[in-house]
Each structure stands twice: as C-alpha cells, then as structure tokens.
Amino acid sequence: MELYNCSLEELGRLFARGEVSALAITRSVLDRIAELDAQVGAYLEVDENGALAQAEAADQRRRNGEKISPLCGMPLGLKDLLSTKGMKTTCASRMLADYRPEFDATVVTRLREAGAVLLGKLNMDEFAMGSSTENSAFHPTRNPWNLGRVPGGSSGGSTAAVAAGMAIASLGSDTGGSIRQPASFCGVVGLKPSYGRVSRYGLVAFASSLDQIGPITATVADAALLLGVIAGFDAFDSTSVKAPVPDYYQGLDREIEGLRIGVPREYFAAGLDPEVEAAVNQACRQLGSLGARLDEVSLPHTDYAVATYYLLATAEASSNLARYDGVKYGFRDTQAESLIEMYRRTRAQGFGEEVKRRIMLGTYALSAGYYDAYYRKAQQVRTLITQDFDQVFRDFDVIVAPVCPTPAFAFGEKVDDPLAMYLSDILTIPVNLAGLPAISVPCGLTAQGLPVGLQLIARPFAEEMLLRVARHYEQVSGWNGCRPQLQGNKGKAVR
C-alpha cells in the first residue's frame, strides 16, 4: 500500500523502527495532494516547504535517539479555523482572506511539540457555518467518493483530505456535528471530544459553548493517538477541564463484554434514509455479537434540539463575529465616509450569505424584548436535553445512532433551502448541546457507493470507553481502512 494510504498507527511503527523516513511519508502525501487536490479542493493552503522542513526535523529527532511521540513525522492537515502563527488562517472567509495570526492555537502548539508535520490548512464552511463545505468563500470541497457530492461540513476539507490520502490525519471542529457528519459522508473516523476535553484557545470561535476540536482519522486507533496528544487542561482556556488524560491508545483493546448500549428511538424516526437505517441496524447486530446488550431508549426532547441549537449557536456567533469590523485586521471597505458606514460596508462585503443569515438570527434572539422568549428559553431546553442523556447514561454505557439521516447529498441540493440543510445535523446537534463525546465510524456503503457512518455517544469524559467500543466495532465491521477510488472518479471502494 502507498504510504499516503497508511494509518498513523502503521506509519508511526515503521517510522519508530527506522523503516521509513518522515520525509518519505511527507513526500508521498504532498505528491498525492499535487495529483488530486485540483479535483477535490480540500486545501486552502499547502505549506510544502514548511512540511518538508518539519519532516527533516522529525527524522533528525529520531536519528538523535530522542523519545518519539506517535505523531512524530506524521503529516497532518488543520482546519483553517485553527490559528497558525505566521500562516494564513482564513476560516474560509473573505473577511480573513489575508489574516496571519501572531500565535498558535494550543492544539497546534501540542502537535508541533509532538513533532507532527503540518501540511497546511483545510477548507471549510465559512466560520464553520454549514453542513456541506459549499459555503467556503474560496471554493467548494468535493467528496472523494463521488465528486458530484458534498463532503459534508463544516470540516469537509479535513475529512476529504484524510479520505483521499492527502493527509494521514487532520483536525476539525464540531459545533453541531461538523466533525461527525462530514466524517460519515467521507467514510473516515471523526471524534468530537467532550466539551472542555481539548483547549479551544486559538480556535476561531463560532459558538463558544458548543465548539470542540477533534481528530479526523482513517482508523479509531489513530483517533486515540491524536486525541492523546491534543487533550488536556490548558491555562489559556477557562472552559478546558483539569481532568487527567488517560492513555486512550493503550485502553483500546480492553474487553467490552457486558456493555450496555442504548438505541434511542427518536433517532430512527421518519426521514431516515432506508440504506442508512439498514447499515446502522447491521452495526447494532454486530455490536450485539461482541457481547454488548442493546435496548431501546428514549431521548424525549430530541425534537427541540435543532431549534434550540440555532438560537444558541447564532446568538453566540452574532457576538463572536462582532470583532470582524475592519478596524484592526482582515478585510476593510475603503470607500466608506463614516465609521458606521465602514462597519456596515465591511461586514456586508466581508461575510457570505450564510454567515450574515446567522448573525441576523442571533442578533434578533438576543435583542431586548426577545431574549426571554428565545435565548433564555433555549437555555432551559438545553438543560432538558442534557437531562435526557443523563437519564439514559444511568443505565447505559454508550448510545448508538446514525450520524446523519442521509448519505452525502449532491452539490446545490440544499443550498437554497437553509432549513433542509440545518436538518442534516439533527442527529448530531443534541450531543453538542449536552457537551458529550461522540464518534462517527464507517459502517457501510450505499448502493451508489456512498459511505454511511455510525454514531456512538458516551457520557462526559468517557472518550476512553467510546474509542474502545468503536475500535471493537471497527474490527468486526469490515469497513476498516476503506478508501475511495479516485482516479476513475467513480468512488468505488478498494481495499
């Protein structure tokens, strides 16, 4: 197999033994990007020279006999809302088209310290708002399994790159499903950690109380390796939690015998694509065969999750995005005659339609006279949704569900119908509202050859359990390491 299609786990082993150099791995991935990215459009910026230099440094570290982290020498991609010092961080927005941060995000610092090779910045929906990566101000990203389909969003660039071998792994962010939904569409593993598990410092905020950075990888083991490096308390983020970080990788193979798995009936409601439902049901049976006990459970407030989310997330976004005013950095309209006019024109031209739509919604939800009816009410419902999960986790270890009601949809299919687009996050959003960890693992392909994802959800800070269950499932599922066939643009699976 080509190096670019290997997992972090395999490459790390080869690298540690000196059987392959970081430079060779990095070249393999850079060549793959050069060969394919014109079709896929996963990257906004590739830092070839930087990556090669980092690869050389990693090789040097190994030659010097230094202690090697599992990520040392591994070429990774970053969603373009993670601040990278001196390197453009655009959030796929015209507003930040030329913005170069003065500092690295904490996760970026941790990757650098681990000796990872940072390939460049990956495409996304503008400011992480969207479910298809069609909302990038620069260009859309295509699904490597079928170039006529969206990769999902908003971390579509991060998932497409991993699926197509244009990064061994990547980091994305998940506010309402933005890691899990595109991971499901692209047939890769996407982990949304518990809120507070990974520092948000340097993550350009969309909705602060919901955002969480997480790994996007080819395998569950890779997710465990990557999470192990980025997780943990950070003094620069008050909401990051001072809980010890277990060795997720070492914990993977522990038994899951006697595991209790809840299957929420509300997640299998009308609108669920029959092929998705079939793949998830098959996965449930396989989990059962591993010795887990599955029972139907209820999360009664699920119906309110989307409405709650679009009030809270937009309210926070309207405030978080106020700083893009043309005063200090980023895009500025130069025609305006007055200060107010400068703000108006800068924001009118700098933001795309979806971002403006959400800022307006959020501004309205917070405005005098509507706060109680919308924002405060939404917070109350959020509490109820969290309590639903608490209730289930009293008796169950993991919840299993589909990730998205459908497989990847076609370009333009939902772009003129924001509400239909918002509903594609219906099964991922409750997890963000409750701050829980959840993972998407591949669980099948539709007749048209589109990946389907399985969602596993655990109680707060139970990532170790989540990864272990996902790993056991992955090993019996037969979908492990499934890759799209790209040259023929047919999207056929090859082993």
């Binding site: 003065e102 500092f103 602060s208 109380s209 003094a235 620069f236 926070e316 309207s318 005013d325 005098a368």
Partner: protein, 478 residues
C-alpha cells in the same frame, strides 16, 4: 428654595491596582507607548480566550464587604455587545444579571448628621482602549489598546442623593474607602476613578422620578459639583417652561462650563447582554470571603472615631491625619516609638507635610521613617537638642534619607552642651572678663543677666543648655 426635588444617582468606575489585566497577563502600567501592554487576548484576536485574574475578584469582594454588600456566591460574566473602534472584541466583558456584590450602603456626612446612601451593585468589568486623533494625521485616527482589558469595578448607587454637595460627599467617601482598601489609586485625572451621574428633577411629593439625563466626563470633584449644578438649572428651566427633559447622555464641557448632548435617542443601544460562554461562573466559597474579611483594613470612619478616643486629638488634626491610610499608618507607627500623640501629630502636619507637598510625593515615598521622626522627638524631649535645631536636623534627614538623627546631630556638633564643667568654665571666663557688667547687675540692673546668657549662647552657637546656663550664672553672680 425651589419647586423641585433633585434626584441623583452615581455610577463610579474604579480602576483596580492589579499588576496584570483582568483577562490576560499583560501589565497594567500607565504611560507606556501605545499598544505596548497588549497581547492576542486583550486585543481580541480571533481564537484568543479570556482567563479571569483572581486578584480582581479579591478586590471586588473587598470593596463589597467594605460597603456592606452581599457577596454573590455564583456570579456571572456577561457580554455587553456594541460596536466601537476602541472595543476590540465588539463586546465588553462585564457583569449584568448576577453581579458580584449587591445591596450595600455608604454613610456620608451631611448638614445635620449622617445620611445613608444605598449601593445597588458592584460589578467587575474590563476597560476599553482609547482613540487617538492626532492633528498631524490628516483625519486618520489611531487606537491605543494599552487600557483594553484593564480591570474596573463599577459601583452603582441608588438614586439617594438630593444635591450636588451630597453627590460630592458620597464620591469623596467612596473614593476614600476604595483607596484605603488598597484596590485603586483613586486618581481622577488619569481616569482611574471616574463617575457618571444620573440626574432628574421632580416636583415635591410627586410619586415618580422625573426623566433623567446621564452626565459623563467629569474628572474632578469640582467638575462633578459644577456639572450637576449646571444640569439641575438646565432641567429646571426646561420644566418651568413647560417642556420635557429628554433622556440622553450629556458630556460636561469643562472649558465652557456647560453640559452638551453626547448621542441622541435614536442611537440608543441595545446591548444584547448574555452570559459569556468563554468564562465559567465565579463561584465564591465562604472561606474565600472569610479570608478577605479578616484582612480588611480599618475604614476611615472607624479610624477617625478611634483616633479621637485613643489620642485625644482635635477633629481638625484627625481629619488631616486620616485623609490617607498611609498618613494614619505613619502617625500610628511614630506614636508607637514615641508615645506622645500631640507632638507627633504636630510634626507630621507642620514639617513632614510641608516637605512632601513641596516635592509632590506621597507619604509612602517620604524618606523619613516613623522611627526616625520618633528618635528626633526623643532627642528634643531629652534636651539633647532644641526645637529649632531639630528643624535643621529634620531637613537633613529628609534630604539625605538618613533616619538616624542622633548621628546627624553628632556629625554637625548640633547637640546641646550640657556638660556642667565646660559650661562653668565658659561662665567663669565671662564673669572674669566683664566685672563692670557684674557690678551693674548687682546694683540692680536685672537686664544684665540676659547679656550673660546671650554671650554664652553666642559662644556655643546656641547649643548651650539654657537651663544650666541660668543656674550657673545665678550661682556666680546672683
């Protein structure tokens, strides 16, 4: 005196004396070059997050306890959203629904006694930056973010004040307490203690408050008084003429001595407050409050009562000595070394204050220590030096930062000559050399005694112990 009752409420912004800003590690030093004290957090760069400075909470609790407030056990930071170039994030982190202190009070001295002014709330917030409009720039403005994220307490009073004099008395008392607590320098000119006033008039006995105007930009007690007086007149004229006061924010124009509208009603802001999701609620345990309560200093009013009782000083003396906590501390430390309150007070007020006022320095910077002053007073008491000499020694102690008056006295040979043999020798010589004057004295010219005393003093450069000289002379010629 007039048909209306004046109703005044004050909002005071008090800049805290922390080393670092409220949400980042940048310095709060005043006077650095523009944008020197900044980082990604205080300039609101994308992705940067605030982390609360615990010291600010300490100070807020201290302020709350000193003004009889309840301390909120779970207080919450909120975002106040508005656009302004000096506001780096497009919102100010402040407190709204759940401020850290609620329902306190402050007693002020008014004609005829003491009046209690309610304190509605005290909350923590960050300051904004500062716009700079240089003349040379051709209409271009700059922003200095050094002040952005500097910690402030906002102290909001009830509308309990009924005259500009009461407002100023309240402000003075509040400033004095906050400075005593060591949480602010109280410098009004540098803006570290600033005040907005809400003013309205209502006919006596009317059930509701009148429509109010908010006054900003008053940077001294005098300006507060003048601005309020002007505003009261302005509103009275409007009401007398049958008009209605417009609810608006007005700026005090110092040069012209008038208040002027700052922004119109149509630009009234909807701040869209909501809890800041980047910051956790501030949870305050009982032990935290108890620790701060135990460390609270004695407050000015209590100190004045105690000074009157313990030292028997006049009200005027006490007023001067307690105006600043450092002054009172100096006095008490000196009395500890030299337990005679009156001379200690006199020396502080007459000499020490004269020197530090001339040099425009605070008493903390004064080179003379309480112990040094006490030693000097001890030398006078022991008769080693005269009061007049003591003043010279004091000047040298101040100039040379030398707190050992005894060494100075010895070095300069300023000590009194109390050696009876030495003085006796001098007196004998004088008597021998001036037998004619001795005769005049003995013949009844009493004034001649003074001649001999004067001669001794002249010969000793004023250092002879006058009492001993008297006794010796009486012995020889009396």
């Amino acid at each position: 005196m007039m048909d209306y009752e004046i109703v005044i409420g004050l909002e005071v912004h008090c800049q805290l004396l922390t080393q670092t800003k409220i949400f980042c590690g940048c310095s709060t030093d005043f006077g650095n070059p523009p944008n020197h004290n900044t980082c990604p957090v205080c300039t609101g760069m994308p992705g940067a997050l605030p982390v609360l400075n615990r010291k600010v909470v300490d100070f807020a609790i201290r302020a709350g306890l000193a003004t009889g407030c309840e301390i909120t056990r779970n207080s919450v930071f909120a975002r106040k959203n508005y656009f302004y170039p000096d506001l780096p994030k497009g919102y100010q982190i402040s407190q709204f629904e759940l401020p850290i202190c609620l329902a306190g009070h402050l007693d002020i001295e008014v004609e005829g006694g003491v009046k209690r002014i309610g304190i509605t709330r005290i909350h923590m917030e960050e300051d904004a930056g500062k716009l700079v409009h240089p003349e040379y720039s051709g209409g271009v403005s700059y922003v200095d973010y050094n002040r952005a994220c500097v910690p402030l307490l906002e102290i909001v009073s009830e509308p309990d004040m009924r005259s500009s004099a009461e407002a100023v008395a309240y402000l003075k008392a509040l400033r004095e307490i906050m400075v005593y607590l060591g949480i602010t320098d109280g410098n009004m000119e540098e803006g570290s203690f600033r005040c907005d006033a809400n003013i309205s008039l209502r006919r006596w006995g009317a059930p509701h408050f009148g429509i109010r105007a908010e006054l900003k930009n008053m940077n001294s007690f005098r300006n507060v008084q003048r601005a309020i007086d002007y505003e009261v007149e302005r509103q009275r004229d409007i009401l007398d003429g049958g008009g209605q006061v417009v609810q608006e924010t007005r700026l005090w124009n110092v040069e012209r001595g008038v208040t002027m509208p700052m922004r119109g009603k149509e630009e009234a802001h909807d701040y869209r407050y909501f809890p800041d999701p980047d910051l956790l609620p501030v949870v305050i345990e009982e032990a935290w409050i108890a620790g701060i309560r135990a460390g609270l200093p004695e407050l000015p009013a209590a100190k004045r009562r105690r000074f009157a009782a313990a030292y028997g000083l006049s009200e005027a003396d006490i007023e001067v000595l307690t105006a600043e906590r450092a002054m009172a501390d100096f006095f008490e430390a000196a009395v500890g070394f030299f337990p005679q309150p009156k001379p200690v007070a006199n020396w502080i007020m007459a000499e020490l204050l004269k020197f530090i006022n001339e040099d425009k320095i605070t008493i903390e910077k004064c080179p003379i220590t309480p112990e040094g002053l006490a030693r000097l007073l001890r030398l006078i008491e022991d008769g080693a030096i005269s009061g007049k000499i003591a003043k010279q020694v004091f000047a040298r102690m101040y100039a040379e930062a030398d707190n050992d008056p005894l060494r100075l006295v010895e070095e300069e040979g300023l000590g009194q000559i109390s050696d009876s043999a030495e003085l006796a020798k001098l007196v004998d010589e004088l008597v021998a050399a001036n037998q004619d004057k001795v005769a005049e004295y003995r013949a009844g010219k009493v004034k001649m005694f003074g001649f001999f005393v004067g001669q001794v003093m002249k010969k000793t450069g004023g250092q002879a112990n006058p009492q001993m000289v008297n006794e010796l002379l009486k012995e020889r010629i009396g």
